[in-house]
Each structure stands twice: as structure tokens, then as C-alpha cells.
Symmetry: C2
Subunit: 340 residues, 2 copies
């Protein structure tokens, strides 16, 4: 079984993101938002059948751990109230996708974060997504200000209410920023990767893993700059007397494989232990073209892993086993959704 | 000849950085700064002989392209006046090092930047450093706010006065941030690498290379996240209809080798054309320990390059030839300083 742990609903029916625009406009004008648009099951079916499901089949993957569009989270827009309504609408739509295609999609929640608003306010949405929707993880945005980095680092107790819930429910968080509203940081060309790198460093230098020994985080996009600079991080951890980097982070931090060329994947698999790598493509996502050097989509990451000099057992860990371990509720959810 | 293109004077006599502290305290108190401290030639000799020169000799390198301590630039502290006085003091000290050790050090200027102050005010210091001190390049901080990213991106015409000077003098700029005052970004564990990645992306998506076809930038720390995500950047350039990434950036952008483990160096040399890689270590710098996996310093980057499967001619480009090409005034300066 091939599990892609990083997919976003980038192909949602147009009226969904349309409503978001209206909601933010209404907020700016000090008015209540318009009623939420009607989205039919057929519209959802079509958006998936011609989108992520089609690509799953073309590439030979089986299941996508699926969450709302990351750039669309827009935690820097509106306020806590608009974020709550938007997260609720987005997660409900993911739940409908997972209900319509239970063999192919399992949900991960977007949180109703807002810059400088305590993440405590995310707890009800986590409760709902886990208990009512059967979601198996969350996306945690370390920078709800959208490129201005105005909230405390992930090691701060500010974030602990979310961490306590993650441990309680046995769900991991993917550290994933949203769109950048800072012109110095292109969303997919700089802010995403920099969010990964900063998030890793914040956790590495924190007490989070001492305070929550069983907590698990996925750093997406191949870990940002981290595996390429693994020697630098080993050295920084050593200079800071944190101990061996592998001891410090590898029980709790995992990296996905959203790296869009073979040499990058080779580095990832060489540097990071195979137990800490989870297959992912983020299709249909940031990079949609076909690589003229290979004739295949840049984000068809399965092809790169197929070419790595790893044993079948190790590849099975990357493709399936590690996801089942890191997402503690995944195996039970697969069983439940498969039975439908 | 082995030229290390990335060294900072991290071992300067104590009273130098001591004065900086006093200067900033005086500025906060609305008072004039105290007079600059006396630093003798012997003190400078000692700081270098027991510091960077000692390490050059131990590692078998010949010449360091040398600039003031990057984290010490502190462009977020004080104002334009304090930055001018501090840049002037720092560059003068580099000039004294280069005068005392003309065979081993050639200078690169720190600029008197300040957040939200036009970089036009850097021109007199560039003039002085090139014309009076014989410096061969500059360090350009893309984020003088120290982790808050409040200035325009590097593609903005805001930066063009500096670019025009670079072209006029045939000097490249290393894109190098200073210390972070944003608690989400550890200076050497996140801000440096993220500055590299953001800076690259800003230039890639800009018209700078159309407007200044001969301009040259060095992205330090192995290019931040960029070479590891070279496929992503190729795809982003393609999706944005910018053309082939190699055509877009490789006439103007170069990467140094400050990557502190062999697998990272292997990736860099595999992905980036050898003509675009410049040897560098940033010793004595961010990572000072000995790697228990190799028994050698993490930042002894020459050892990694010695192990790469490249021809002697290609290694000579990385160690010497590319630096002479990218730093247009370097060869003449080497000749001049060697004659002393």
C-alpha cells in the first residue's frame, strides 16, 4: 500500500474559495459573512475524480492523507472569528471528500489559527475533526502572520495546549505555513521551505520533546533546508550542548519526501534514517509542470523513491509503515473506511 | 591556490565589539558614542595568527576573502548614523588585517544598512572600501530588520543604487543576513539559511539580471535550501514562465560551499554546475566543533571537496578559478598584495 501523507484539496469547487473572498470582504466592511455556498456531492466527486484521484491512479498510489489547501488557510486574514468559520468550512469539505472516497482519502485538519491569538482556540476544532470526522492529524502553522513571524516559536508554552491535544488523541502535526503576505517571501518559493527550516530549529532547541515524549511532528517539503544541512545542525546541536542530533529529534520529528528531483531524494535517504521518512508528493500542488529532464511531473515523487538504492523493506517503510506508525490512528481508520 | 571566499573576522580584539555595545547604549540614551577604542597592530596580529591564519595553515588553504563578523553587523540596532559609524569601524579593521597579512586576506565590505533606510546611503562606504582599501566585494543584507523582513525584496528598484555600484566597480555581493532579533529565527540555525533561500528566490523572480546583465551574487551556506530543492525551483521557474532555471540565474548567481557534511557537498556538486560553485568554509564561524563521525571540524569544507568525484580541473575551478572570475578585481588585488 502506498500512502501519500501530504495532499491538499487544491481542486475544490470554485464556490468554496469564492465564499472565502466574500467572507473576508464582509469582515473588512464590518458586515456579517454571506451564507455558505451550496456544494453538491457531484461537484465534490468531479473535483476529486478529475483531480487527486486521477493522479493517484496514474502514479500507482493508494491513499492520500488529505487536508485543506495550505496556502488557502490564510491565517493572516480576518480575525479569530473568520478563521474559525473558514477552518470549519474547509474541514467539513475534507470530511465530505473522505466520506465519498473512503478508500482513497483520510483527513487531516486545518486549524482556526490567527496571528497573536492563543492556539487554545483551536481545541474545539481539533475535537470535532478527530471525534466527528475521524481525522488522523493536524496542520500546525508556525507563522499565522503570513511571513512576518509574530507569534512565539514552537518551543514556547504558548503552543502547549495544542501539543497536549496531539498527545491525548495520538495525532501528529505537520508543520506547514500558509500563504505569505510579506513581499520578501514568495509563498511556495521561500515561505514554505523557510517555515520548515525555522520550525525544525525551533523544536530542536526546545523542551517540547522532554515535556511531550510521545509527540510527533512531520516537517514537510523534505524538511526545508534541514537534511541538506544535517552536518550544520549536528554541529549546532553539539555546540549548544544539546547532545547528538539524532537523539534530540529523531524520536519525534519526521520528514516527508516532497523534494522534486532525484538528487534531493538521494540526499534525504542518505542522511535521514529510513524510519524517519514518509512518502509524500503534495500533488496537486506547488509545482505542476513536467520536468523536461525526465519527461515526468516534478512532483511525481514515487518515481524518485523507486530509483533509490534501498531494500524493498525500507521502501515499504517509506511508502506505508512509517505513516501507520507516525499517524497513530491511521491503521484503525484505514480499516474502518475500507469497510464502508 | 586555495581561496576561501567566505570568512568573517569573528576573532577581533575584544574592545572592538565592546565599543559597539557602548555605541548602542549611548544611542538609546540619546548621547554621543564614546571615542573609538585603541586597537594595536599587535593585538590584530595576535587575533589573526591564533585565529583564521592558524586554521588556514592547518587546513592547507591560502587566502580568505575576509569581511566583518556577519552576525555583528546588527543592522536592526540603532539607526543610519550608528550603522555608518559601525560599518566604518569594522571595515577599517578588515583593512588593517589585510594590510598586516596581505598574502592571506583580501577584504569585503560590510555596508551601513538600516531597516527601511534607502541603501543609497551605502554608496560612500562602498566607494571608500573599493578605492581606499582595495576591497573586492560587499556583503548585502537582504533583511536589515533582523528577521522581520521589512525592506523590499531584492528585485525592487530600492536596491538598484547598490547594484549600479557593483557593476561600476566589478564587485559581487554576497547575500548575507546578520543576527536575528526575531525569537522565531535562530541566527545561525534558521535566519542565515532562510535569508539565502529567500534572497535566491527574490532574485530569480526579478528583472535584476535583465537590468544588470553582468552583476554577480554569491548565495552563501551552500545556497540555503536551494540546491536541495533545485527540482522545485526548476519547476517553479517553468510554471511562472521564466524559462529554464539555468538560463535565468546561472550567469549571475553563484553558491559557496559552506555545507558541513559530505552528503550535502555531494548534492551541491551534482546539482549545480561546477562553474557556479566557490570554495568557502566560513571558519571561524557558526559551527566550531569536531564532527564525531569524521574526527574533523564540521567546517573543514576542503576535506569534503577533496573527496568529491570531480576532475582536478573542476576542483581547481571551485578552489580558485571561479573566485577569480566572480570577484572581478581579485586577481589584480592578489598580485598587488603579494608584491608587498
Amino acid at each position: 500500500m502506498i500512502i501519500d501523507c501530504h495532499g491538499h484539496y487544491t481542486t475544490s469547487p470554485r464556490q468554496h474559495e469564492g465564499w472565502r473572498g466574500e467572507q473576508i470582504e464582509a469582515h473588512k466592511a464590518g458586515k456579517p459573512p454571506p451564507p455558505r455556498p451550496r456544494i453538491t456531492d457531484d461537484e465534490i466527486r468531479e473535483s476529486i475524480a478529475n483531480g487527486q484521484l486521477k493522479v493517484q491512479r496514474e502514479r500507482g498510489t493508494d491513499l492520500t492523507i488529505f487536508s485543506p489547501r495550505a496556502a488557502g488557510m490564510g491565517h493572516h486574514l480576518g480575525d479569530a472569528t473568520t478563521s474559525e468559520a473558514w477552518a470549519s468550512a474547509c474541514n467539513e469539505l475534507i470530511h465530505r471528500v473522505c466520506s465519498l472516497f473512503p478508500q482513497n482519502f483520510i483527513g487531516v485538519a486545518m486549524l482556526p489559527q490567527s496571528a497573536r491569538v492563543s492556539p487554545k482556540n483551536c481545541i474545539p476544532e481539533i475535537d470535532r475533526c478527530v471525534n466527528e470526522y475521524g481525522f488522523v492529524g493536524i496542520n500546525l502553522n508556525p507563522d499565522p502572520s503570513g511571513g512576518h513571524w509574530q507569534d512565539p516559536p514552537l518551543g514556547d508554552r504558548y503552543w502547549y495546549p495544542v501539543y497536549a491535544k496531539m498527545v491525548e488523541y495520538d495525532i501528529p502535526a505537520m508543520i506547514h505555513v500558509s500563504a505569505s503576505c510579506n513581499p520578501t517571501h514568495h509563498t511556495t518559493g521561500a515561505h514554505y521551505l523557510n517555515g520548515d527550516t525555522a520550525g525544525f530549529n525551533q523544536l530542536m532547541t526546545s523542551s517540547v520533546f522532554k515535556d511531550f515524549p510521545s509527540i510527533r511532528f512531520i516537517i514537510p517539503h523534505g524538511g526545508g533546508a534541514v537534511p541538506y544541512h544535517w552536518g550544520r545542525y549536528r554541529g549546532l546541536a553539539q555546540d549548544a550542548k544539546l547532545g547528538l542530533l539524532s537523539d534530540v529529534v529523531l524520536k519525534n520529528i519526521f520528514f516527508d519526501t516532497c523534494v522534486y528531483h532525484l538528487p534531493g531524494q538521494e540526499l534525504l535517504a542518505k542522511v535521514i534514517p529510513v524510519d524517519n521518512i514518509l512518502f509524500a508528493s503534495e500533488m496537486i500542488g506547488a509545482v505542476r509542470g513536467i520536468d523536461p529532464e525526465t519527461g515526468h511531473h516534478y512532483d511525481d515523487t514515487k518515481r524518485y523513491i523507486d530509483q533509490l538504492p534501498l531494500s524493498a523493506a525500507d521502501k515499504a517503510k517509506i511508502f506505508e509503515g512509517n505513516a501507520r506508525r507516525v499517524y497513530g490512528r491511521l491503521s484503525a481508520t484505514i480499516e474502518k473506511q475500507s469497510a464502508r
